[in-house]
């Protein structure tokens, strides 16, 4: 019927934006999504890119390769990667304990996980500094060992680990809870030890969610400002993070340098998240749609 009514549109010639679907409201929801995404994300970021583009290539290159800028970027991204990696390991452990074991105060522990979300990051930064300063509760025992955390890049990693933990725990937890017990039982009947079951069966099944949590923690850590500036000491070339350097440039009325650094951060962050998404897409293709 339809084909007869629309004889001029042979298959493939009509641009088909939407597939027929039983779910109504495709046009409306897509339109709203695009508008919302534009207003909230794309316009501010676009303005940033436009501003950076206005600099001219040689100016931009000079600003972008400034040694202090490069040092700050390196610290920001390496510390964020380290923190997200630490969280990927221990966040899974925390999620495992929360899902698999019942112990007194489990609900309290569960609630504590989310505190880094709720706490003003400056408060977290000050608390961490108080702990890790050479005369702090923890710092005074580490200082004799020659281990300095506050006012060093290690302090940056500590603060970023703190703010990123909930992301991994909260993305892994529901997947772990839904993981069928019979898959683990199957591994056991086939002769796998508990360790083999965890590493060959459970963790691979959790991998997509661990990656998601890792990406979220990484993104958060790259942009983190409040908690880090207190503990980092902010020594140029050593413990100065890129977001702080942007603020410093702004305070110096050096908008060009601030813009160039911001655009650089944006580019690197985008590439990293894109890479993680691609890895996940490959995994999804192997595991089917419900992975």
């Amino acid at each position: 019927m339809t084909a007869a009514l629309l004889p001029r549109f042979a298959a493939g010639t009509l641009p088909r934006l939407r597939q027929p679907s039983v779910l109504p409201g495709f046009g409306l929801t897509l339109g709203f999504t695009l508008l919302y995404l534009s207003a909230v994300v794309l316009v501010p970021l676009g303005a940033l890119v436009a501003k950076a583009a206005g600099l001219g290539i040689s100016d931009f290159a000079a600003l972008a390769t400034d040694p202090r800028t490069l040092a700050a970027l390196r610290l920001s991204f390496l510390a964020a990667l380290a923190a997200a990696s630490i969280n990927a390991v221990f966040g899974v452990l925390v999620a495992w304990v929360l899902v698999r074991y019942d112990f007194p105060l489990r609900r309290v522990v569960d609630a504590v996980i989310d505190l880094p979300f709720a706490l003003p990051t400056a408060v977290a930064g000050i608390a961490l500094t108080a702990l890790y300063a050479p005369n702090g509760w923890v710092g005074q025992y580490l200082a004799p060992l020659g281990l300095k955390i506050a006012y060093t890049p290690l302090g940056v990693v500590a603060a970023l680990t703190f703010v990123g933990l909930p992301f991994v725990v909260r993305t892994v937890e529901p997947v772990l809870r839904d993981l069928d017990r019979d898959v683990e039982e199957a591994a056991a009947t086939l002769g796998a030890s508990r360790r083999q079951t965890v590493f060959r069966v459970v963790l691979p099944a959790l991998l997509p969610s661990i990656l998601t949590g890792f990406a979220l923690a990484l993104a958060r850590a790259v942009g983190e400002y409040g908690s880090v500036i207190f503990i980092a000491g902010n020594i140029p070339y050593v413990s100065e993070i890129a977001p702080l350097l942007i603020v410093i440039r702004l305070e110096e009325y050096d908008y060009a340098a601030a813009t160039a650094l911001a655009a650089e951060m944006l580019g690197i962050a985008f590439l990293m998240l894109l890479t993680i998404n691609l890895i996940q897409a490959v995994g999804r293709r192997r595991l089917g749609r419900h992975a």
Partner: protein
């Protein structure tokens, strides 16, 4: 490998799921655990596998007490109702898993493992799908892969939990026949759980009927059907209707009418008489017959099913007569019981 189950008891949070069950399974036998949900059949299967530990009692594999062995030491092939395939592994890797996790001393070389996986895929008649992932397979294919995976470890015993429960009727029927043939070829001692009596009757050498955590009867399918040991088994297996009767010195009374001395040796008092629809015959005589008013007539395959309202309590009795039987205009008909079972009430 023959299996001996001795007074096995299992409680979950003080609630008994299995009350001291004993059972002997012969080597190479195909045994069905049949019962309604909550009868303890899956619990019994999981206890044999070692996925649960008994509250008391023991399981022997041959002469060896397996009760103290963990599930990984028991070397049982277990097929789960929902297959429990590892979805991040290809089909071939799923099947090879049990061999790859062995420690270095007993693990076959990689090329042997790969050949073995291919052979097993051949055995379950899915030779071309080794590189696919579980989500790309149909339910029946997944079930066969799960079976191949269980067979890969050369198990002493094969245990299947509702193996066809999640499949549609046609696939289920094919797989049943196929599994029966596979069993005859490989000769594993096999125990499977089902709530489908047709499945149990068709496939197994012996059927264990379970109800409420106890074994009600163990026997060959014919025996279970023809000589049910209790009213529960009679009611659960096949179609049957029950009539409330009274026994008085071996004579059975339906209401005030005597049906004859049918219950020799049974204690006096109220009893239940169970009859299968095919075990009644239309008769013109009223002596020793069950008479009633025809309440409904339905066509059921090659037979005609008559629902007979009997006695003043309005109990319904189902009778099957050949479809060619003319239905008399008279609403009251008498039927002579050919085979029946009478069990004391309560």
């Amino acid at each position: 490998m023959d299996i001996s189950i001795r007074r096995l008891r299992k409680e979950f949070d003080r609630y008994p799921a299995l009350h001291g069950v004993s059972l002997d399974i012969a080597s190479g036998e195909l045994l069905a655990l049949l019962g309604p949900s909550g009868s303890g059949k899956t619990t019994l299967l999981r206890l044999i596998a070692g996925l649960e530990f008994p509250t008391s009692g023991a399981v022997f594999f041959g002469a060896e007490d397996a009760s103290q062995k963990s599930v990984r030491e028991r070397n049982v092939g277990f097929v789960f109702q929902h297959y429990a395939l590892f979805r991040h592994m290809s089909v071939a890797d799923n099947i090879a898993f049990g061999l790859r996790v062995r420690d270095r001393a007993t693990r076959p070389p990689e090329d042997v493992i790969r050949r073995r996986a291919a052979e097993l895929l051949e055995l379950v008649q899915l030779p071309q799908i080794g590189n696919r992932f579980p989500h790309q397979l149909s339910g029946g294919q997944r079930q066969r892969v799960a079976l191949a995976r269980a067979l890969a470890i050369e198990p002493q015993v094969l245990l299947l939990d509702e193996p066809f429960g999640a499949l549609d009727a046609k696939v289920r029927k094919e797989l049943r026949r196929w599994l029966r043939e596979l069993h005859e070829r490989t000769g594993h001692t096999t125990v499977f759980v089902t709530h489908d009596q047709e499945e149990a009757m068709e496939m197994s050498d012996r059927v264990v009927v379970m109800g409420q955590g106890r074994i009600e009867q163990v026997g060959a399918p014919d025996e279970i059907y023809d000589r049910p040991a209790s009213a529960f088994v009679h009611g659960f297996i096949g179609d049957s209707s029950a009539l409330s009767v009274t026994v008085d010195r071996g004579e059975v009374f339906l209401g005030r009418r005597s049906l004859g001395p049918l219950a020799a040796g049974l204690p006096d008092g109220p009893a239940r008489m169970l009859l299968r629809p095919h075990d009644l015959e239309l008769t013109a005589q009223s002596a020793g017959a069950i008479a009633g008013r025809i309440a409904a007539v339905r066509r059921h395959g090659g037979a005609r099913m008559i629902e007979l309202e009997v006695g003043d309590k309005g109990e319904r009795l189902e009778v099957a007569v050949p479809a060619s039987t003319p239905i008399c205009p008279e609403p009251v008909q008498a039927f002579r019981p050919l085979r029946w079972q009478i069990y004391p009430a309560g």
